[in-house]
């Protein structure tokens, strides 16, 4: 039976007089690949941080594997189970890569979870080999390129073998080759029935990888929640949520007006 991993009920997050999220309710099942779309400042990153128990909602309730997730529950033995099962890839690798060397960085998570040292070394070695970054293992992370940093950040998260992966803007600042590499890796992890929750602007990545898409509107609430191909074809919805835009350009004497999105075509002449 497929297990429910997350259940969010009426989640809100406010700071001072403003708010980042309002009345967010959805659930995510084991092995599901979920894309979260929204314009800048819509609250996608805050939502992922709430799902990772890094910040706590100011209203509503969140459950992980049926257990309520809050500051109190994360102080007890539940913390280890939760941290072991969820990996969070931050949008800016520099924030995530704080250890002196690449090896130490990848070993950080398993060591905090008190895995035996032999097992930690084995996991780190295997991951560095798999991602083709073994040659970097003694390098300080700040000396790496953006693509290398992203690979190390992902290796650092995978080293705890999480069941759930939360990725915030995973293709940010990556060159095309690294983007393809990332897509193939995520596809492989999806095939392993890992739950993948991705907040991104990259509609093609969501289109290729996500089973389901949640759109956060500019009012910080859920504007749509449905199958990926259905949501991504709803041009009006995506335009309203400021995820795609329309523009006009010229091909010889013909002037086109069309939207920018994964399923847009040139048949929208004006």
């Amino acid at each position: 039976m497929v297990q429910e991993v997350f259940r969010l009920s009426g989640i809100g997050y406010s700071y001072g007089e403003g708010y980042a999220l309002k009345g967010i309710s959805f659930s995510a099942m084991q092995g599901e690949s979920l894309g979260i779309l929204g314009a800048n400042g819509s609250g996608k990153s805050t939502l992922l941080k709430i799902m990772n128990g890094l910040v706590f909602p100011t209203s509503g309730e969140m459950r992980f594997l049926g257990e309520v997730l809050n500051e109190v529950s994360l102080k007890g033995p539940f913390q280890r189970c939760f941290r072991e099962r969820i990996g969070f890839v931050f949008p800016e690798p520099d924030v995530q890569l704080f250890s002196p060397t690449v090896f130490d960085e990848v070993a950080f998570g398993p060591l905090q979870l008190e895995l035996p040292e032999d097992e930690v070394r084995r996991r780190v070695g295997a991951l560095l080999d798999m991602l083709g970054i073994s040659a970097l293992k003694e390098r300080p992370p700040y000396t790496l390129s953006s693509g290398e940093k992203k690979k190390v950040a992902i290796a650092a998260v995978l080293s705890t073998n999480p069941d759930v992966l939360l990725l915030d803007e995973p293709t940010n600042g990556l060159d095309p080759r690294t983007q393809v590499w990332l897509f193939e890796l995520l596809q492989g992890l999806k095939d392993l029935k890992k739950t993948i929750v991705m907040a991104t602007h990259d509609l093609s990545l969501v289109g290729d990888l996500s089973d389901r898409v949640i759109v956060i509107g500019e009012d910080h609430g859920i504007a749509a929640d449905g199958k990926a191909d259905k949501v991504l074809r709803d041009k009006d919805l995506l335009l309203k949520a400021n995820i795609i835009h329309e523009h006009t350009h010229r091909h010889g004497d013909i002037i086109h007006m069309h939207s920018h999105g994964p399923f847009s075509t040139h048949d929208e002449h004006e």
Binding site: Q79, R83, E84, E92, V95, F98, P100, T101, D104, H245
Partner: protein
């Protein structure tokens, strides 16, 4: 979507060529920041740590402890020949560790210069009375260098030079990762080690932010502004970097918690000490013992 209408002035192009006039000087701010950045990179880099050598072969714990003992010995001794002894030990260690004298001298020179400036007045009789070595007299006022003053000032410069050189040799031959591992093994409180490491790690990120801010301003500067304006701008950038560093601290903390950090930092155990580590510790401990006697 509404069409973007460009204002007419944006459509005008400049046809005339740029005249090359008399060049100005480099900006004070970008020069200072570039120098700070280069100095930090140079000082904090462990250039020789990857090369094979005697010091590199020691365990980080023994290496740090040994250098610490030598530095303590230099700080408590009152005899110049003990300092010269430390200098000899350091020179031998340097040669056996493939460290060039030039890279060490580059790190020691700034502190020697500043210590010499501070110690300079001590040479003279108005600070240190004693037997005059030579002096000058102008309009009834005389000033002379005293033997005692020279001895004190030179001793101070020598002491600082040797201690800085020892610390620099340690940093040059120790990878950052090993340095922090060594501190942890020496039971330095983990909070202190973590804070020190984070400072090391993010000082470059923040320096880069500052450099970028200066470059962005430079790219839009077409005339020399007023000093007060530059001061205001600098203050605002300092505030921005402070804000950024606080935001970084918060995000890094979240990234650590996300991967299981619960306030107690766990790291891989360093390999145990070997014969050469004990020999190094014995030698440095013996040197410390001698410094009590002399």
């Amino acid at each position: 979507m509404a069409e973007v209408r460009l204002p007419d002035w944006l459509k005008e192009s400049r046809g005339e060529p740029c005249l090359i006039g008399k060049g100005g000087s480099h900006g004070f701010l970008d020069k200072t920041l570039a120098n700070i950045s280069a100095f930090m990179r140079e000082t904090l880099s462990s250039g020789a740590a990857e090369r094979p050598g005697a010091l590199q072969g020691l365990s980080p714990k023994a290496r740090i402890a040994g250098f610490l003992l030598l530095i303590i010995a230099c700080s408590i001794t009152g005899r110049a020949f003990m300092l010269i002894g430390a200098l000899v030990i350091m020179a031998v260690a340097m040669l056996m560790s493939n460290v060039s004298a030039a890279s060490l001298a580059k790190r020691v020179a700034p502190s020697l210069f500043f210590t010499s400036v501070i110690a300079f007045p001590v040479f003279f009789d108005f600070i240190t009375p004693g037997a005059s070595v030579f002096g000058v007299s102008v309009s009834g006022y005389s000033i002379s260098v005293t033997k005692e003053g020279a001895a004190i000032a030179l001793f101070l410069v020598l002491r600082v030079g040797v201690m800085v050189a020892l610390a620099s040799l340690l940093l040059l031959t120790t990878r950052q990762a090993d340095f922090f591992k060594g501190l942890k093994e020496l039971k330095v409180p983990h909070l202190f080690v973590t804070a020190l490491y984070m400072t090391f790690r993010y000082v470059f990120v923040l320096l880069k932010t500052a450099e970028d801010a200066v470059l962005a301003r430079k790219s839009r500067t077409i005339a020399t502004g007023r000093l007060s304006e530059a001061q205001r701008w600098t203050a605002s950038r300092i505030a921005l970097i402070l804000k950024k560093s606080m935001s970084y601290a918060e995000e890094v903390n979240m990234a650590m918690i996300s991967r299981g950090f619960d306030g107690r930092l766990r790291t891989l155990k360093a390999p145990g000490m070997e014969g050469r580590d004990y020999l190094w510790l014995f030698l440095t401990l013996f040197f410390l013992f001698l410094s009590f006697g002399f």
